[in-house]
């Protein structure tokens, strides 16, 4: 059971010394309770208090950092099983698989074609999963080819020599070595410790995975990820779900408190549609690194969209940049429609506008990332905010003086007209789906 902020506060020195970086002990305690700050940041905690608190505030699932620089990613650290309970924190990352008998450059080049921005987030396959099929030298050669390409490497190889050689090449990039199992874990822990990298653990079934992980923890090593891939899709799903559920249960079993690797190239080889389907399932159900044959737009548009949706903070809506978005070849003479910067609203409205085929400009003003009615109720979408935006941003660029406002804020019409001299304000229907007909009718009627 997580501690409440007040329980933590009671153990602080209550001096507001600010040495932790927070202005007050109360603020610090609240941040610790949220998991945003480590308790150890406070230099004045008594030993006793620290011991009580570290146990109680230790996250049930470890947060593991892999990669370096721009390609550094955080895995794990989840606190809930369903996003509505709080929020998911560490996005699953996609790895493309290469083997020594593939042309690694070509594989990377193909995957790197997908690299775009969606609502402020870069979308690309962040990792490469190097699968060893026996020949240690060939494996190391492949590792060389994919090192220094801005990807986190997952080295899947159980040959200690090969791993050591590969680490000589790439350990500075903080790869993962997905190498430990019941037979070799002691040696692999030494290798991982020596290189300062994260170790992947696998087992022939969930029990062996559990025992091996427990044994590795006994050796004092906790920078782990768990390869939950089984022999079949069913087993993979069962293991991945049970591992996550064990560590996030009311009475957590922290032995399973690590991120996961799910290798779809193994359980659904060469089947793109099936890999998309399964990747979707594992985005929702507890995959941390999802390995696929490649990345392309057929996969990425769906999977990145899904991931972005599911990993949003339920209390922080996704926002699009305010500005003028021309649609269907809209130019300075095309009608202006305005709505809010809530990403979902933007996507739905722009989709309908595109479908109408009518050239227009979609003017998005800053409404705090809230939906139309919510932002209106919160005072973030008002006749003042709209008219100010139109005057400052739209008037210098657009000659058309017809503005279409969302039907749900029809009540703003008069005020906006009063504040925007020379503009005619038209009220749109309440729902975006009605826009196509509405615009077509306006166009047919010669109004726009």
């Amino acid at each position: 059971m997580a501690l409440k902020g007040l329980d933590i506060f009671k153990l602080t020195p209550k001096t507001n010394c600010k040495e932790c970086g927070s202005p007050t002990c109360m603020a610090f305690s609240m941040k610790v309770a949220q998991g945003a700050v480590e308790i150890s940041k406070c230099p004045h905690m008594s030993e006793e208090a620290l011991a009580t608190l570290s146990e109680a505030t230790a996250p049930p699932m470890k947060t593991i950092k892999v990669g370096t620089g721009d390609a550094e990613y955080t895995l794990g650290g989840e606190t809930v099983l369903a996003r509505h309970e709080k929020t998911f924190v560490s996005k699953p990352r996609f790895a493309v698989r290469v083997t020594p008998d593939m042309d690694a450059d070509a594989v990377l080049a193909e995957a790197n074609k997908v690299d775009y921005d969606r609502i402020g987030e870069r979308m690309h396959a962040e990792m490469v999963f190097v699968d060893c099929n026996g020949d240690a030298d060939a494996f190391v050669e492949t590792v060389k080819k994919v090192t220094g390409k801005g990807k986190v490497l997952v080295l899947s190889c159980k040959n200690a020599d090969a791993i050591k050689k590969a680490l000589d090449v790439c350990k500075d990039e903080k790869p993962i070595i997905n190498s430990a199992d019941a037979s070799n874990y002691a040696e692999m822990v030494e290798i991982a410790k020596a290189a300062g990298v994260v170790l992947g653990v696998s087992g022939k079934d969930i029990n062996e995975l559990y025992d091996t992980t427990a044994a590795i923890e006994k050796l004092g090593f906790k920078d782990l990820v768990l390869d939950t891939t089984g022999a079949t899709v069913k087993e993979t799903f069962a293991t991945t779900v049970q591992v996550r559920r064990a560590c996030l249960a009311k009475d957590p079993d922290r032995t399973f408190g690590y991120p996961s690797i799910v290798n779809l190239s193994k359980v659904a080889p060469d089947d793109e549609a099936m890999q998309i389907a399964l990747a979707s399932v594992f985005i929702l159900k507890y995959g941390s690194i999802i390995v696929m044959d490649t990345m392309n737009y057929a996969r990425g548009l769906a999977l990145f969209g899904l991931r972005q949706n599911v990993y949003t903070d339920p209390q922080k809506p996704m926002k699009v940049e305010p500005g003028i978005y021309p649609i269907n070849g809209g130019d300075e003479n095309s009608v202006v429609l305005t709505t809010v910067d809530f990403a979902l609203t933007y996507f739905v409205v722009s989709g309908e506008l595109e479908r109408s085929g009518v050239p227009c400009n979609l003017a998005i003003s800053d409404a705090g990332g809230l939906s139309v009615l919510t932002s209106w109720a919160a005072g973030k979408l008002s006749s003042t905010s709209v008219s100010k935006f139109i005057k400052e941003e739209v008037e210098p660029k657009i000659k058309c003086r017809k503005l279409i406002i969302p039907g749900k804020v029809a009540v703003l019409k008069g005020d906006i007209e009063a504040k925007l001299e020379g503009w005619q304000v038209i009220v749109a229907p309440n729902e975006a789906v009605q826009l196509v007909k509405f615009l077509k009718d306006l166009q047919a009627g010669g109004e726009i």
Binding site: K4, G5, L6, F9, K10, K14, N16, S22, P23, T24, C25, M26, A27, F28, M30, A33, Q34, H84, E85, K86, P314, Q315, A378, G407, V409, A410, V411, L412, K413, G414, D415, I416, E417, A418, V427, N430
Partner: protein
């Protein structure tokens, strides 16, 4: 003669006829002769529905008659009369079915007689949806054929299905009335026994749509009473047979309205004498509790939310009513059902065309409402909707409320013919539609006479507003029997539940206890549900078993305990819409409050945004709580920890907003003068140390209170 004598006499007469008819048929065709109505899976549907037995041949029909006889008990109790009525109806069915022997087609255009199952399935759907709001059974001959046609047409215009039995059919035919199933006027037959065909519709509807088990007479009657909105209009003279049939109708829950005055016995809500045939419609609808939906508001201009934001400029204005210069008001008043004639419109003073163009005038409108479930607490809820109703009229602008309203009507709208009666129509139609759960009758009075406006404003409206305000201030948590849940915000804060009490409105500041109550009455399945407060655990904390159960239920188990008056122990959760957040400030042993509009730092070391991220989302964070501005001066504000005396800091703007109420309450509760002067703000301190100095200097009471932790 008593009513019992008439029912029993009529019943006996019909029974005799039936027995004779069956015996005659058996004599002619033999007992094995098959008998059933066509196009039905239920043989004799009424008999089957009541007894669960399907009659297949004449012999069985004779046996069935024996069963009917057992219903004909002769004690002079209400139930005996009802059962004799049912027996009469079943006899009628037997007589009618004999007409269909050998595949005969006894009914010819325009008569329908028996209706097929398919028709009932088809009819059942609009009956369930209310598209057919009622079923009228008109029996006998109206005083004149004009009366007959007028009555039938009045129902037809309301979408009511009209069935005709007896002389009224010839009257309608003579008058050339277009009849038929398609226009919802169904002449059944000229014999009184043909009335069974509409009873058959009602009973088959119960079997098909109500899943009533055949033979389960109790549930059958419950279904027809609750779900089949039928009623009978019987013209005089009424003979005993018709009276007996009427008893059957009443047994099924269908009231009988008649203009017979001789030898009749009034039974409230069931057997109603209405001498004026013109009023049959209104009397019947009221007796059967049928409400007619208004689908289109009949005014000369459009009515839509798209016009809500229109502004009528001076130059475009035909006439203006201005509450800041003249006596104006808008008022909803609850009346008794008998005091109101539904849809009545009264104009006192000039109509819109009698005012000088562009002039400023007085206007007031009084909307009288009545209903069995109406409560005067709903009045302000309705009244607040007027702004939106009036604004949605094309070319009409409305601002303000109560006696501070302003209304402008544009020239274009005036020229389209918009007058006072249209304004009244808009108010009437919207109130009836939106609040149909509680409003049965509504009448609108518009007053433009200045003297009358002035008089009524001071004598009627202002006292009414004062009464309501008084009610609000005396409405305490202790004084009400129940609280309400509100889960309007669960769409984005899934586990949050607001418990709305009179002294603690929703934390968004928008939902008061009265609003929640009205929402619950109007939409019983909606976001506001009743929470009882019978099992108190700790009065001081505001901890109740009932409240905990409700919170657990409405949060789907995410929350188990909530206190109403404590910030430290299981405080109420927040969705994220809170106007304010308060949190404990340990140095001064008090609480600091910040509001959404204030973006700066607080002595807690956290801004509104930072606080919001911890307290929102339905998470319980002891020591912190979201709430509405209004709650600050409430006697229930963190009552368990000593109340609003603990407030040590607020942003200046917020302090100014609540100063009057807070100071008044502080004087009353703690005998402190100018309490807000002791409370810090951002111009005094945004760190706890400086704040503490200030509080010490001012002698803030929180410093002397018991420690919060």
């Amino acid at each position: 003669m008593t009513l019992f004598d008439r029912v029993f006499g009529g019943n006996d007469a019909v029974y005799g006829l039936t027995e004779a008819a069956i015996d005659k048929a058996i004599a002619e065709h033999g007992a094995d002769k098959a008998v059933a109505f066509p196009h039905t899976a239920y043989s004799l549907p009424c008999y089957y529905a009541v007894t669960g037995t399907k009659v297949a041949n004449l012999g069985e029909l004779k046996t069935a008659l024996g069963v009917v006889k057992t219903l004909m008990t002769r004690e002079k109790r209400l139930n005996d009369a009802f059962m004799s009525g049912v027996a009469t109806a079943l006899c009628a069915e037997f007589i009618e079915v004999l007409k269909y022997l050998d595949g005969a087609t006894p009914y010819e255009e325009p008569l329908y007689g028996h209706l097929a199952d398919a028709t009932i399935r088809e009819l059942g759907v609009p009956l369930v949806t209310g598209d057919i709001p009622g079923v009228a059974v008109i029996l006998g001959s109206a005083p004149t054929k004009e009366d007959a046609v007028a009555l039938v047409k009045s129902y037809q215009a309301q979408g009511i299905l009209v069935t005709l039995v007896g002389g009224v059919i010839d009257q309608c035919v003579e008058a050339g009335l277009n009849m038929g199933y398609a226009v919802r006027i169904v002449p059944l037959g000229k014999d009184v026994t043909s009335v069974i065909h509409v009873v058959s519709v009602a009973l088959r509807a119960a079997l098909i749509f109500g899943n009533v088990t055949p033979g389960d007479a109790a549930n059958l009657m419950k279904y027809t009473f609750e779900r089949v909105p039928a009623f009978v209009n019987a013209f005089k003279p009424l003979d005993d047979v018709i009276v007996a049939c009427g008893a059957g109708a009443i047994a099924l829950g269908f009231p009988v309205v008649t203009n017979e005055t001789e030898n009749i016995f009034r039974v409230p809500k069931s057997l109603i004498v209405q001498e004026d045939v013109d009023k049959f419609n209104a009397t019947s609808l009221e007796a059967r509790d049928i409400k007619i939906k208004i689908t289109k508001i009949d005014i000369p201009v459009s009515f839509a939310s798209a016009f809500e934001g229109e502004i009528i400029r001076k130059g475009d204005m035909q006439v203006e009513f201005d509450g800041s210069r003249k006596d104006c008001f808008e008022l909803v008043q609850t009346k008794e059902l008998t005091q109101i004639e539904d849809h009545k419109f009264t104009l006192i003073g000039k109509d819109f065309d009698e005012f000088e163009v562009g002039s400023k005038n007085a206007i007031s409108y009084i909307v009288d409402v009545a209903g069995k479930n109406m409560q005067s607490d709903f009045e302000p809820v309705f009244e607040r909707k007027f702004h939106s109703y009036v604004n949605c009229i094309e070319g009409v602008m409305h601002t303000g409320q109560r006696d501070m309203i302003r209304v402008r009507i544009s020239k274009a709208t005036f020229e389209a013919g918009f007058r006072a009666k249209d304004l009244a129509e808009v108010l009437y139609a919207n109130i009836k539609n939106e609040f149909d759960a509680v409003v049965d009758k509504c009448a609108v009075t518009i007053i433009t006479d200045e003297a009358e406006c002035s008089k009524l404003r001071h004598e009627m409206a202002i006292p009414a507003y004062d009464r309501r305000d008084e009610r609000l201030t005396t409405l305490t948590d202790e004084a009400v029997p129940v609280y309400y849940s509100c889960i309007m915000c669960q769409a984005f804060s899934p586990s949050h539940v607001c418990v709305v009490t009179p002294e603690r409105l929703g934390l968004c500041g928008a939902v008061s206890w009265l609003d929640a109550k009205a929402t619950n009455e109007l939409d019983p399945q909606g976001p506001c549900q009743v929470i009882t407060k019978e099992r108190v655990i700790d009065e001081n904390l505001g901890r109740y078993e009932d409240v905990d159960e409700a919170v657990a239920k409405f949060s789907q188990g995410a929350l188990e305990h909530v206190t109403l008056y404590s910030i430290m122990e299981d405080p109420m959760t927040s969705c994220g819409c809170f106007e304010c957040i308060c949190g404990i400030e340990p140095c001064s042993n008090g609480v600091a409050i910040t509001n959404r509009e204030y973006a700066g730092m607080t002595p807690l070391g956290m801004t509104f945004g930072e606080l919001a991220s911890m307290t929102g989302g339905g998470v319980q964070t002891p020591g912190f709580m979201g709430h509405g501005k209004h709650f600050i001066a409430s006697k229930k504000f963190m009552k368990a920890e000593g109340g609003f005396e603990r407030i040590v800091w607020m942003p200046k703007d917020l302090k100014d907003t609540v100063a009057d109420r807070l100071n008044k309450a502080a004087k009353e509760v703690y005998d402190i003068d100018n309490f807000t002067d002791m409370i810090g703000d951002e111009t005094i301190a945004t760190d706890p140390e400086t704040l503490l100095e200030f509080l010490t200097e001012k002698g803030h009471p929180a410093l002397k209170l018991e420690p919060l932790m």
